[in-house]
Symmetry: C2
Subunit: 130 residues, 2 copies
Amino acid sequence: MINFILDPSGGTPFYRQIIDQIKFGIASGNLKTGEQLPTVRSLAVQLKVNLNTIAKAYKELEILSILDTQQGSGTFINANGIVLSDEEKQSKLQDICKEFLTVAYTYGFSKEEVIAELQNNNLNNNLNNN
Amino acid sequence: MINFILDPSGGTPFYRQIIDQIKFGIASGNLKTGEQLPTVRSLAVQLKVNLNTIAKAYKELEILSILDTQQGSGTFINANGIVLSDEEKQSKLQDICKEFLTVAYTYGFSKEEVIAELQNNNLNNNLNNN
DNA sequence: ATTTTTGTACTATATAACTAATACAATATA
DNA sequence: TATATTGTATTAGTTATATAGTACAAAAAT
């Protein structure tokens, strides 16, 4: 379960706020594998936006294999995060690490600093089966 | 020194490609502190875009204190990465680490995996004075 | 002091992004 | 088999983004 909330200021599009909250919900363990998300209509009503805005968020996450959706029944958290081959996983890992280090270095942080902070971070997830 | 290149396909805006290449140039050590970047006009001619496109990239990096620019003389790599107070630095470090871990977890990577890959990464920078 | 070089500001335009209204289609349920 | 529930598709309108053309302003160089 997760409590969706939209911030109209700040400039971040509604659909992206929803995407981020779902991603963080998974990463933090608040959304479990197989769990059903609110229907596009119910969440649209709750957040006072059009149902297409919700559908757009769900769709993007479905393309990433984060969600699993069937017309008629609903949208669910997919089993094992994003599905990639071993080569793709390794390449993706290198990509996101390089991107992250570039940002960190540009801010003046050292590799040791970021690793220490990562180890200190208590964000955890419920999907790992590596 | 750095060799700018623009990819018209791929959808990434020209000005953002320039920003990314400068950031990576700094993170990789190919751009040194105090080094002058090409003038907005010369780079615009070289890349066959309008000078405002270059100016927009330089401007965004100047706001982040990554570049230092003076009308009449040119644009230069600023001394010490982004300038922040200790509190701001710590907060920023936590922010980017949380963001990074969320992405990593969503892809199914464990904290150990990303730390191992970070340690394995040989990207280095020339700005650290921590 | 004049000219050249450098970044800046203003304006316009085309494209993309975002959100909504509403109709459609597939599945589940009574 | 109807009907309700769920996601999907189409269309439209508004706003934001990206880029360019051109004029302006500040600093350096002569």
